[in-house]
Amino acid sequence: MGILEVKGVNKRFGGLQALGDVNLSVAENTVHAIIGPNGAGKSTLLNCLVGKLIPDTGSVMFDGQSVLGRKPHEINQMGISRVFQTPEIFGDLTVLENVLIPCFAKRDGAFRMHAFETVAHERDIVAKATQMLDDVNMADKKDMHAASLSRGDKRRLEMAMCLVQEPKLLLLDEPTAGMARADTNNTIDLLREIKEKRDITMAIIEHDMHVVFSLADRITVLAQGTPLVEDIPEKIKGHPKVQEAYLGQAHG
């Protein structure tokens, strides 16, 4: 059984069936990509996993527990971290502080009244955050204002913020959407590096299947809210149903 088990999930927005009977299983220590044309329901599916949306029917089990009805911060505390389509970081804080916050969240839970401690005295946490920044080659930028980073660096920082929590599952929503070619390649390299260096389970949502091809262990193709096929990348490429879903869309 996978670490993430999605069974029979349906989600309607008014008359629109955004998700129709979605079943999905993500095995531990694998990279699972979910691809599909625009409007296929990828973001909706992801939002059902992190507590932003609640499916109409079906179940979402993570690590043996249901995530349904839990708030985003509770789901994060269960071990799911999320990277957004446009990087969500703490713009007014320094780069280092951005990474410190997830460290505190991981150690102290969703709330702790640590008003009389001093950030600088938490040496273990500062060391851990600094090491993380080093790992993503941002150590030299640690005192910068996060809002003044380039877009690529913001993405990198957001990944660092997620990775430093050592999540059991890392979710990425179109991590290269709207990026220039060079930035896309950088992000792919970063993801590959992460995959090689750490034992991590990732679910990547992607519109452009070439991005995930070299990265994913398994790919699920989603079209009009329903999974078409799920297989290893090599089998997905030439699959007639996938050709139809993508090409049919692209040319039609």
Binding site: V50, K71, P72, H73, N76, Q77, S81, R82, F84, E88, I89, F90, G91, D92, L93, T94, E97, L100, I101, P102, F104, A105, K106, D108, G109, A110, F111, R112, M113, H114, A115, F116, E117, T118, V119, A120, H121, E122, D140, K141, D143, M144, H145, A146, S148, M161, Q165
Partner: protein, 405 residues
Amino acid sequence: MFGLSSKDTRFLLIVVFLTLATPILLQPFPEGSSLAQFNAGYPDLMQKFAIFGIFAIGFNILFGLTGYLSFGHAAFLGVGSYTVVWMYKLLGYNVLPGLVLAVIVSALFALLIGFISLRRSGIYFSILTLAFAQMSYNLAYSVLTPITNGETGLQVYSNDPQILMGENSPTSPHLFGIVMRESTQFEVGGWLFTLNNGYYFCAVIAILAFYLSLRIFRSPFGMMLRAIKTNQTRMNYTGLNSRPYTLAAFVISGMYAGLAGGLLAAMDPLAGAERMQWTASGEVVLMTILGGAGTLMGPVLGAGFIKYFENIFSKINDGVLHAWFAFLPDGLEDLVVALIHPFVGKGWHLTLGILFMLVVIFLPGGLVEGGQRIARLFRSKKTKTAGPGGRNRDHQPKPAPHVAE
């Protein structure tokens, strides 16, 4: 020292020195000189500096750090005052029991109002707090008359129980016999200095309040509050529950306000409903923004500035103006006086309003930003003279603005 970095320790020591030396520093002009009315070193005003400084420091923990703009903090100020006067009536004129209770009662009150108001954010939060404060104000004025004494205001009467009052106990607010309104005066040259017990009592509490806020700013908790202001979405998806953080900040700032209100009654044993009015809530917002929201010193500076204007500029009337410009030919004198007239005396609000607009437009970081710009100007002059070996700041990554200063 005190769990602070050496830079913060130095900063704290400067604040301590300035606070303790205030009665001397604010008397720059000799007694009897024409500028003596700009002296601010008299007890009543200095007490206000310290008390409203405390109010603004606390408000800044909520507004400056989390960005939640409360328009109802005067309610806690009023609650603090009423509590202290009630303790005078029941126990006696020692201020300590009342102040302790004022902090506790305002904390409970803030917990209730915060719990409800923080269900919304942005403008809706502000409106909710405003509604609560106006409700409290109206209740204090009418329905709760048995507790607040309505329009007349709450005060001590000779038939009040005052069960802890001894034969020789002072008959005005005191701390174990140290009477708040008593002062020592001394004269050096033409200068007159007043060291007032009440001021020093407020000053010591203000220093403690400042120290606590400094610790909060440097704590993981303070960092979380700043994170809430920047990006709540990221906060939640990082596994943090923002609600208890904002509620804690709200309660802490409510306690500061209750303490400040209590001190007002510790200086002058009266409490009236007007202390809870929305104008008083708005004033602390102005203080914080004028000085620099989210900075450590800003709120204190803003509070001092506004109280100075309120008390000094409002006293400059036409008679004073004529005396100043007497050296001008008569026609010109009248013209100058007529031009300045709207900005002083009763018109001090106009001057303050213009000043506030100028600060918000040109110095969004408040007076503190102004100070930093001036300091940078001096520093860049120094580095230029350091010659070609000096590193050029412009070519280095921009460091994040520090929350200190």
